[in-house]
């Protein structure tokens, strides 16, 4: 009897181990494939020419594979969208966790999280048919499909992530800290700004970086509203072409295992390295400023 119970236990343990491993294996295989399909381009183009070349004419004769404008576009769109999304997301989180009553919180939190459930193509379509003409008319622009529009739409998408993760962090600040601060005579605002926020800073930073990596990897929205001009933007309202939109637009018809195909996978590698970097930073911050008990402040 005891033996069969032990067997059962170990079978279950192995089953869970396999389940856990499957996602790691899947990720490993995808990475492997990405590198196998992306690296051959560097036999024809040097890494420097690829990363810092200014011209992207993959199908011309001779082809040009310079993705610098694409990298700049991705970074610019991500930065502008963060500038919009971080204050919105963090301030909403503070309001929900600290100021709003339980009823308001119970209403607002699901609504904010619902925003994350909107399919990106819907947000993209909204940007294309509503926001673009509005921007064009209001600011008298040549086109409403531009960096700012894309950043605005991406901000919509990263606010829920930033808000929900940082709200959890703020909410989990131990009550003793807050009570101690209030007992010392600090006002509610002083408590929030001097005690609560510093105590939850690591959680907030993680939230911000997760939101940013969502923005840099987003494809559909930037494909639809960023405009798609492969040149370095000279204003907030220039049309740009971030990396994911080039991959999405061109992959379907790039000749299988041709140079263009390899180049698109190589863009994928660059994109992967960007998001990997973001995740490592997020992990590092979370680890370094880990809240251990109530005594670390």
């Amino acid at each position: 009897m005891a033996a069969s119970r032990k067997t059962k236990d170990s079978v279950i343990r192995i089953a869970f181990l396999v389940t856990a491993l499957s996602s790691i294996v899947a990720l490993g295989l995808i990475m492997l494939y990405l590198f196998i399909e992306g690296l051959p381009i560097f036999e024809h183009v040097s890494v420097t020419d690829f990363l810092f070349g200014h011209l992207w004419y993959p199908t011309s004769d001779p082809p040009e594979f310079g993705i610098f404008p694409l990298i700049v576009a991705s970074v610019a769109v991500t930065l502008v969208s963060s500038a919009l999304a971080i204050p919105l997301g963090v301030m909403t989180a503070i309001y929900l966790a600290e100021i709003a009553g339980p009823k308001t919180r119970g209403f607002f939190k699901p609504v904010v999280e619902l925003l994350a459930a909107l399919p990106s193509v819907v947000i993209g379509f909204f940007g294309m048919v509503v926001v673009a003409p509005f921007l064009q008319d209001t600011f008298d622009l040549a086109t409403g499909l531009n960096l700012f529009n894309a950043a605005l739409m991406l901000a919509f998408m990263s606010v829920p992530t930033i808000c929900s993760v940082s709200e959890d962090a703020i909410y989990s600040v131990p009550a003793e800290l807050k009570e101690a601060s209030l007992a010392l005579g600090a006002t509610h605002w002083e408590t929030i700004s001097r005690v609560i926020i510093p105590a939850s800073l690591s959680g907030i930073s993680t939230a911000i970086i997760l939101g940013m990596s969502r923005a840099i990897g987003e494809t559909m929205v930037v494909l639809m509203v960023a405009g798609g001009a492969a040149m370095i933007p000279n204003s907030l309202f220039s049309p740009v072409r971030p990396m994911p939109s080039s991959i999405a637009a061109e992959m379907a018809e790039a000749p299988f295992r041709g140079d263009h195909y390899y180049a698109l996978f190589a863009i994928g590698i660059v994109l992967f390295l960007f998001t990997l970097l973001f995740n490592i930073i997020a992990d590092h911050i979370a680890e370094k400023h880990k809240q251990v008990g109530a005594a670390t402040l």
């Binding site: 011309s60 048919v129 939109s245 999405a248 018809e253 000749p255």
Partner: protein
């Protein structure tokens, strides 16, 4: 073990029955690809014994494949070059040219735009980034140039027939489909785009090119300048299943699909 053997036997049976069918390989131009995909889909439903594998590696690759004998039908958006014909002869391949449809691309602007026509040279300058104000063509406001992703067949045709060796400037906006070009042009009064003749509707205004209206008739007669024939090449006169397919493609049913794919059907 028995079960496994049975499984293997079934698999072999299925595999061998698949080999019994005729397989026709089609390779070549990405411009012709959407027509071919539509045709093959309909044709295979009616003739389940014939299997088609269609891939789009570009006109050059398709023609190379027919010369090397690695494909049965090559799709091409240009005629075979003299060098290719000579090479084919050397290998004992007499490539047979079949015109399958006509590709006509129409420049479109927003209906609010006063400009109603342009010359090929003006279109080229617009897409090269040399004309940046509509004033040069009698309109007003800045020009917003909308182009297709470089992999698309429409882009390829535009580059060949309008740009003639020059490159579309990097400031051109990219849209990933003809539908998206129509959408973007209809929403922006400064925009100019180009689409296949099948995509024209009331939301955009087609421009005349060198004074000629682009439609099925002017494209088929060769008057409209941004049009070209699309070809299929076979090894010698088409025979057997290939002949059946080609005849069907050139017939009423096949040409209807040409129109559905946004291209100009052949005049009968």
């Amino acid at each position: 073990m028995k079960k496994l053997a049975a499984l293997v036997a079934t698999f072999l049976l299925v595999a061998s029955s698949a080999f019994a069918d005729t397989t026709v390989k089609v390779d070549g131009s990405t411009t012709v690809l959407p027509i071919m995909q539509k045709m093959v889909e309909v044709y295979m439903k009616a003739n389940p014994s014939v299997k088609f594998t269609v891939s789009g590696g570009g006109s050059g690759n398709g023609i190379k494949a027919i010369i090397d004998g690695t494909t049965d039908i090559a799709m091409a958006s240009r005629k075979m070059k003299d060098k290719e014909i000579a090479l084919a002869k050397e290998k004992g391949v007499a490539a047979k040219e079949i015109v399958i449809s006509i590709d006509a691309i129409i420049p479109v602007v927003n209906p609010a735009n006063k400009v109603s026509g342009a010359t090929i040279e003006q279109l080229k300058d617009l897409y090269a980034g040399k004309i940046t104000e509509w004033k040069a063509l009698g309109g007003e406001g800045p020009v917003v140039v909308i182009s297709r992703d470089t992999s698309s067949g429409t882009y390829e045709s535009w580059e060949e027939l309008v740009m003639k060796g020059e490159k579309v400037f990097p400031g051109a906006l990219l849209q990933a489909s003809s539908g998206a070009v129509v959408q973007a042009v209809s929403k922006n009064k400064n925009a100019i785009g180009y689409v296949g003749v099948g995509y024209l509707d009331a939301s955009t205004k087609p421009l005349t090119v060198n004074g000629i209206v682009g439609n099925d008739e002017t494209a088929a007669s060769g008057k409209y300048p941004i049009a070209r024939d699309l070809y299929l090449y076979t090894n010698g006169e088409p025979k057997g299943e290939i002949k059946k397919f080609v005849d069907w493609a050139l017939g009423a049913e096949g040409q209807k699909l040409v129109k559905e794919a946004g291209f100009v059907p052949l005049k009968k």
